[in-house]
């Protein structure tokens, strides 16, 4: 028993490092007098170190702490993504003017960021409903505070309140679903649930209700229609950095949890090839239900985004639409489908963070988030304008950017699984999405800057960070074989076909 625990701890270093970093930040916040993003650099170090320990776990496939947490290639892929986005977010925060006004409290900000990261790392690794719920809540509670971090702004507080109400309700619904699932299967870890389900449960109605309730909670986190209402308000009110992490990292974590939950609990290892993964409980057409949710997310997200003027709100609706595209992979739930989600998430990380970053740089300089106010900015900030264009083109899914590869893959997977109507909707909504993405580009370039408007100057460091997101976005559009192999090897353990 001691041996198992010790062994488990040795595989738990990434999470432990994050916790230690969190403590160090609290202490440093007390000790260091001159508060100037010291905590940020500490957090960056912590993320980096955790990232190294995660990479050292490559090839491991074990279950630690008595089937609580899985340390496997699947979790590794998501942890790499999460830590990568965490590092970017710290970079963003250091460059953010919005946060400068809160220098005295910035330690708390980074501490909460560390807490959020801890929750997300656990979300993608947990194989037990108890830990899943806890990780989910750790992520949520930290992000509630972060969204309301700008205390003096009513917008920030308002969005935080909306977030906590939506979040608490949906996690409560999910928890109820979890309790029902535990009740009818008598197990808390997903392998046990799988075994119980395979043996057959005598309460199919309650089982279906419980799964629906769990989908509510997860749907809230991945912002899929109809659980998306919080996202635009929260993104708009939250600091830009937090909007970015909610749009990227917390979505990545929720997808990790969703995929693991569905593909482990509901798999029928023997009958998998015959009738698809969803056959284990056929009272409802789950694939159709999720497919409808995906379609709704694409339609609602893209259509509503057309009407937005605030760049953060626009990106919020666009992230709802992207959740729809991503959910297509879950609908299929084949190896191809899941690996296309992983690829999509990886590319999405760079392009979406990039778009948020440029929006943040612009709002630092011209102090506005309105797309109308972007007129002529492309001429005043050449590199940033070009970068924004490329990120938005990539978000649309046009070649030769990474976004095209992501869409190509997920469309390909869906077509080969026979979901032509879903792909048709995805294709049409992609055209619609072009309208609002290109509107930003149009405003940046097709209008001359006002007379007397000076060229915007950004620091060298901020340009380097920009390139760190720009180069992968472009590179993944032409060369992506390693990413593909990484994604495919990561999902082998799920045992899909």
């Amino acid at each position: 028993m001691v041996e198992h625990t010790l062994h488990s701890i040795s595989l738990f270093y990434p999470e432990i490092i994050i916790v230690v970093t969190l403590c160090v930040i609290i202490i440093a916040d007390l000790v260091v007098k001159k508060k100037n993003h010291t905590a940020g650099w500490i957090l960056m170090g912590g993320f980096g170190l955790a990232g190294i320990t995660v990479l050292l776990q490559a090839g491991r496939n074990e279950s630690v702490f008595y089937d609580m947490v899985a340390v496997d290639p699947f979790a590794l892929f998501f942890k790499v993504l999460l830590l990568l986005s965490g590092i970017f977010i710290v970079f963003f925060s250091v460059n953010s003017d919005e946060l400068k006004a809160y220098k005295s409290r910035i330690g708390e900000y980074y501490m909460l960021l560390a807490g959020m990261m801890l929750g997300m790392l656990l979300m993608v690794g947990s194989t037990n409903l108890l830990l899943m719920y806890l990780a989910f809540e750790v992520t949520s509670i930290s992000s509630y505070v972060l969204v309301g971090f700008i205390k003096k702004s009513l917008r920030s507080s308002e969005s935080s309140m909306k977030y906590i109400i939506y979040g608490a309700v949906s996690s409560g619904v999910m928890l109820y679903g979890i309790s029902l699932l535990i009740g009818i299967t008598g197990a808390t870890d997903i392998y046990g649930i799988n075994a119980a389900l395979l043996a057959g449960v005598d309460q199919p109605l309650i089982l279906n209700i419980s799964i629906l309730m769990i989908i509510v909670g997860l749907g809230f986190k991945i912002t899929v229609v109809p659980f998306h209402f919080w996202a635009p308000d929260v993104y708009e009110g939250a600091p830009m950095t937090i909007a970015a992490i909610l749009a990227v990292a917390s979505k990545i974590a929720a997808f990790g949890m969703l995929i693991r939950f569905f593909s482990v609990s509901f798999i029928n290892a023997e009958g998998i090839s015959a009738a698809g993964v969803w056959q284990i409980f056929d009272a409802l057409h789950w694939d159709l239900l999720l497919g409808a949710m995906a379609a709704m997310a694409m339609i609602v997200g893209n259509l509503t985004a057309l009407m937005q003027d605030n760049i953060k709100r626009m990106l919020a609706y666009s992230s709802i639409a992207h959740a729809g595209y991503l959910l297509m992979g879950v609908v299929i739930l084949t190896e191809q489908g899941i690996s296309s989600i992983l690829i999509y998430l990886f590319i999405y990380l760079f392009m979406n963070l990039g778009a948020f970053y440029v929006a943040m740089l612009f709002s630092n300089k011209v102090n506005t988030e309105s797309i109308e106010a972007y007129k002529g900015l492309g001429h005043r900030a050449p590199l940033e304008g070009v970068a924004m264009t490329i990120f938005l083109v990539s978000l649309t899914g046009l070649p030769p950017t990474g976004g095209f590869i992501a869409k190509l893959y997920i469309f390909g997977a869906a077509i080969s699984a026979g979901w032509i109507w879903l792909v048709a909707i995805a294709g049409i909504t992609t055209v619609i999405s072009l309208f609002y993405y290109i509107r930003v580009v149009r405003n940046m370039y097709f209008f001359e800057p006002e007379t007397g408007a000076k060229r915007l100057h950004f620091t060298f460091g901020s340009k380097i960070i920009l390139l760190l997101m720009l180069i992968p976005t472009l590179l993944l559009g032409v060369y992506f074989t390693p990413l593909l192999e990484f994604a495919q090897s990561s999902i082998k353990i799920l045992g899909l076909n």
């Binding site: 001429h379 070649p399 095209f404 190509l408 469309f411 390909g412 032509i420 048709a424 290109i438 074989t481």
Partner: protein, 543 residues
């Protein structure tokens, strides 16, 4: 030799780096000019080394490794009889586009020339790519620089024009993407090694056949995308806007090269890959083409803006190309291929000329001119030659293409009636009417507007731009065989392939249980030997 093709394609792209790095505006221009000129000369090396007798086989092939294991998606470029001349046309228009904007573009020079160079690489890539996914990548990539060229350096209503342009073409090409992925998996199902293949050589080969139902859907998706690009009536509404608002170089490239991507795609993909659907739908598309020819000509006639007139004449001229392609016999397809080049040369030159007078007078309205032939005689000569070439005067290039297309259409078995050829011949007459009438109102008569008296004639740069184009117009007009020989073997071979494939698919289809509409549409009720007799007749009639 193989690396040469890649250098030709990517040299303009590399030149963008140089354009960004150099400091003065003059240097930007010279770097771009040098890069595109070198591209042109390199492409001359390609055409001299081209093996005409084997033009149905890809040459100068570069084949990359497959990007995804099990998926036959790879970098694949090469030239054959179909794309060689279009490739040459693109490289020719590279330096011309740069030179034409030498003095007329003054703002954001670096961005402008970068976009022109990017467009050059993208267009060359579209024509050279033979893996359909790579083709699609270049196809979409070409939209982006054109979007910026119109949007930043365009006219007053440029924003509306860019939106129309982008949405139309993107909507078409996304439908194509869905069909393309489907086609890839379908072809992968036949292919021995892969589960997905986008290699055109395999897809177009006789061993790969598609069932009638799938063929219909995929053909319609591909054809829609290409017809929007062409643009075929009724998808043409984006074109006049985009043309009028684009800067001169933008319209030139748009007319001379980007519109050809549509017709090229029809020949490259739709013809050999979906033979049955292609044949059955031929008369439908021919009707659209004829409507386009006549409608385009009539609308051109009433235009007040010279540039818009030329834009509508494009709709009309490209109707001929589509008509030729769907006639599916050697003569007509050959004519369509050469007419693509002709249209590129003459309409490109017309847009250049319109740009030149616009630079001088900042107006393009016909009523603002009149009698300027006396003031600018050199200009008048070039304008006359180009106008006549565009009309299709014997001895100039337009005649060859239109003559071949009309002859082919007249004898085509796919058009059940010679009325197709007769009606489209009407388009030739209308073309003479609106072009000559425009020429008369702009150039001849007495000078009505005093401002026109001070107009300067063409300078050496402008003459230098036009001379090669006029030279080619005359050359094609007099010795067309110098140009048609490149595609002869290709056209023969692939019309054969298309026909054999269609027979095989029909034979196969009679065994299967297909939905009712397919049977009716493809006339499956006929006895199979009867069918064969009929097809032998078709083949005999064509040669």
């Amino acid at each position: 030799m193989d690396i040469l093709l890649n250098i030709t394609i990517y040299l303009p792209l590399l030149a963008i780096a140089a354009v960004i790095l150099v400091r003065t505006d003059q240097a930007v221009k010279w770097v771009s000019l040098a890069a595109t000129s070198v591209t042109f000369f390199l492409s001359l090396l390609l055409i001299f080394n081209f093996d005409t007798a084997n033009s149905h086989i890809l040459q100068f092939v570069t084949e990359g490794p497959e990007i995804i294991p099990g998926y036959d998606i790879k970098y694949l470029v090469g030239l054959d009889g179909l794309n060689l001349l279009l490739f040459m046309l693109t490289t020719l228009f590279g330096p011309i586009a740069i030179l034409s904007s030498w003095n007329s573009v003054t703002k954001h020079l670096k961005g402008y020339y970068s976009m022109l160079l990017l467009l050059q690489t993208a267009s060359l890539g579209v024509f050279a790519a033979l893996d359909l996914i790579v083709f699609y990548v270049f196809f979409e990539l070409s939209l982006i620089p054109m979007y910026f060229l119109i949007g930043i350096w365009g006219g007053a209503e440029r924003i509306m024009a860019t939106i129309k342009f982008f949405i139309y073409t993107l909507a078409g090409s996304l439908i194509m993407l869905v069909a393309l992925i489907y086609l890839g998996f379908h072809a992968g199902g036949v292919h021995a090694e892969y589960i997905f293949t986008a290699d055109w050589r395999f897809i177009s080969s006789p061993e790969y056949q598609i069932g009638l139902v799938e063929q219909t859907y995929m053909f319609l998706a591909f054809a829609l995308a290409f017809c929007i690009k062409v643009p075929l009536f009724p998808f043409h509404t984006w074109l006049p806007h985009a043309h009028t608002e684009a800067p001169t170089a933008g319209s030139v490239i748009l007319a001379a090269i980007m519109l050809k991507m549509g017709t090229y795609g029809l020949v490259r993909v739709c013809m050999p890959v979906f033979p049955n659907a292609f044949m059955e739908f031929a008369s439908w598309f021919a009707i659209l083409a004829i409507i386009g020819i006549i409608y385009g000509a009539l609308v051109a006639m009433v235009q007040k803006d010279v540039k818009k007139l030329v834009a509508y004449s494009s709709v009309s001229h490209l109707g001929f190309v589509v008509l030729g392609i769907f006639a599916l016999n050697t003569v007509a397809v050959q004519g369509a291929v050469i007419q693509m080049i002709n249209h590129g040369l003459s309409t490109g030159a017309l847009f250049l000329l319109v740009g030149m007078i616009y630079d001088r007078r900042h107006t393009r309205m016909i009523k603002d001119f009149g009698g300027i032939a006396k003031v600018v005689p050199v200009f008048a000569v070039f304008f006359l030659i180009t106008t006549l070439a565009s009309i299709g005067l014997p001895g100039l290039n337009g005649f060859i293409g239109e003559f071949l297309i009309l002859t082919g259409a007249f004898f085509s078995e796919l058009y059940d009636n010679s009325i197709y050829a007769v009606l489209s011949a009407l388009g030739v007459i209308l073309a003479a009417v609106y072009m000559l009438w425009m020429y008369e109102r702009v150039m001849l008569g007495s000078i009505t507007n005093d401002e026109n008296k001070k107009m300067k004639d063409l300078n050496f740069r402008e003459i230098g731009l036009l001379v090669p184009l006029v030279l080619f117009m005359v050359w094609i007009g007099i010795r067309s065989e110098d140009f048609t020989r490149y595609s002869e073997v290709w056209v023969d071979n692939f019309i054969d392939v298309t026909e054999t494939k269609s027979v095989a698919v029909l034979k196969e289809a009679q065994k299967d249980d297909l939905p009712g509409w397919t049977a009716a549409f493809y006339n499956l009720d006929e006895e199979s030997d009867e069918l064969e007799v009929e097809l032998v007749q078709i083949q005999g009639g064509l040669k």
